[in-house]
């Protein structure tokens, strides 16, 4: 073995890291998920997308949910946001059951869902206006949020004039303008190129540091998950179950330099093992080929 690859186990936590997580667990629970299950009826039978998922998110935590494609991440976050009804279990936000979509839970979608007929400012004003605030006070608030995501120059632009990264920043500002208790993000940077993506991750951490918000972030990108989160919920596929709740020892504040440090690499490796267990790599490549004809018959 190459001695350079000898890394500390990700659980070899220094006392201060252990103390950090015990402090985190003492904070009040914002979001509690109990025995969540979801089945879809399809023409080909019942699909179990989620099975007995339970976890809780504490105040001002940033939790990532990671798992292979099709394991039910989107389904999970849609249930949390109230856009889908669970088949079993319940979701509590500050002890109150979730019964439908509402402004106490913000959502940033993977696709671009800004209202194309509204300018950046009007998009951000949408939530406060729906809550019955006057145009004047909503505008003032919107300006602050737009300033926070660094798009003051573009407040009068329309979504089709913005780049993908800018659109998602506006989407974040729009969700935050409602001052939700939890912010759900479903692969919000999935459609961006690698460089923009890195920038956006740093932006998100900046925003999260400055705003009192709890975030549940869905991703299938390992580096993104480790870079952003306090804890990572790793899901299994078919059916979607909680495999492990990984505590990320990488200290905050995070910076890109940490990507090459031991705690980061060790955590990354640990999750990689869960998601791609050794021994499964040699699977036959799924290339479709035509059946070979029997020479005697043809």
């Amino acid at each position: 073995m190459n001695p350079q690859l000898e890394l500390p186990g990700y659980r070899d936590q220094s006392p201060e890291v252990a103390a950090r997580f015990s402090r985190l667990r003492e904070r009040p629970v914002v979001l509690e998920v109990r025995g969540l299950g979801k089945k879809f009826e399809t023409p080909r039978g019942l699909i179990t997308a989620l099975d007995d998922v339970s976890f809780s998110v504490h105040k001002r935590e940033l939790m990532c949910v990671i798992g292979p494609s099709g394991c039910g991440k989107s389904t999970l976050v849609r249930i949390l946001a109230g856009l889908e009804t669970p088949s079993a279990g319940e979701v509590l936000v500050h002890g109150q059951p979730v019964l439908g979509p509402g402004p106490d839970r913000g959502m940033v979608f993977q696709g671009y869902t800004l209202f194309p007929w509204l300018s950046v400012k009007e998009n951000v004003m949408f939530g406060p206006r729906m809550a019955g605030k006057s145009a004047f006070s909503a505008e003032g608030e919107a300006r602050e949020w737009i300033d926070l995501v660094g798009l003051s120059k573009f407040e009068n632009a329309y979504p089709h004039q913005l780049s993908g990264g800018m659109k998602q920043r506006v989407a974040i500002a729009r969700a935050l303008a409602n001052q939700p208790r939890v912010l759900f993000m479903d692969e919000p940077f999935g459609a961006l190129d690698a460089q923009t993506r890195c920038q956006m991750q740093s932006y998100l951490l900046d925003i999260w540091r400055n705003v009192d918000i709890t975030i549940v972030f869905i991703t299938h990108d390992l580096d993104e998950a480790v870079f952003l989160s306090d804890r990572i919920l790793v899901l299994d596929a078919n059916p979607g179950r909680v495999h492990e709740l990984v505590e990320v020892p990488v200290p905050r504040p995070r910076s890109e330099a940490q990507i090459f440090e031991a705690p980061f690499v060790a955590t990354r490796k640990h999750i990689d093992r869960i998601m791609h267990p050794p021994g499964q790599e040699q699977k036959e490549t799924p290339v479709m080929r035509l059946a070979v004809a029997d020479p005697d018959v043809v």
């Binding site: 979509p101 402004p103 209202f115 007929w117 949408f126 089709h160 409602n178």
Partner: protein, 241 residues
Amino acid sequence: MGDRYRKSLRVIFMGFLWACLIGIPLGILCGVFDFFSKLFEPFVDFFRYMPAPTFSTLLVAVLLAGDAPKIALVFIGTVFQMVLVVSKTTRLLDPSLLEAAQTLGAKPRQMVARVVIPGILPNLYNDLRILLGWAWTWLVIAELIGVKSGLTEFIETQGRFRNFDRVYPIIILIGVTGFVMDQMLSWLHGIFFPWAARSGPLSRGIVTLLSFPFRVIANVARQRMAAADSLSSSSNRNANR
């Protein structure tokens, strides 16, 4: 002649306006709420297949002479199609916009006013342009019922006297009016909905297709005028010699 032209325009616009006033709200309601869709759409679908002209005698009997039965015919011919087309356009609205609005705290009534209507407006506008093209067909039929009137009456009577050279300009006038109006509306689309600038090669294609007959007529007219011009100029030259 200007009088007839104005009268024809009045009939088509009044009929179309009434169709919009009834058809658009119904179409949007059907597109958004299952309840309305189940209530109205079967009924609308049924009426749609009854050719509007079959109502003509009835309309004249009830609404008597004058413009009322004609406006009603344009209305009947357009409104049922309009409900179905508008409800379909409404259903095409990106569902994730509705979801986003709900996570931002919008309630059903706010959603219709703040998301559905502004969201479908550019497509709705194109639908109306296409339906206005149809309305011209109903206008011609409408003007033949009861007391004949407008441009069509002129075409009818002149046609009976075989004065075809007076008929052609009117047909061309109708074609050009429809075409110019459509082009103007199309140009206004870009001004009303700058944010939808890249919307709908499909709708643009449909419009091109539907305006095809008008453009052919306009082309023929242009050629005929050119021919007439060269004829007269050559005869002039002959006379000068």
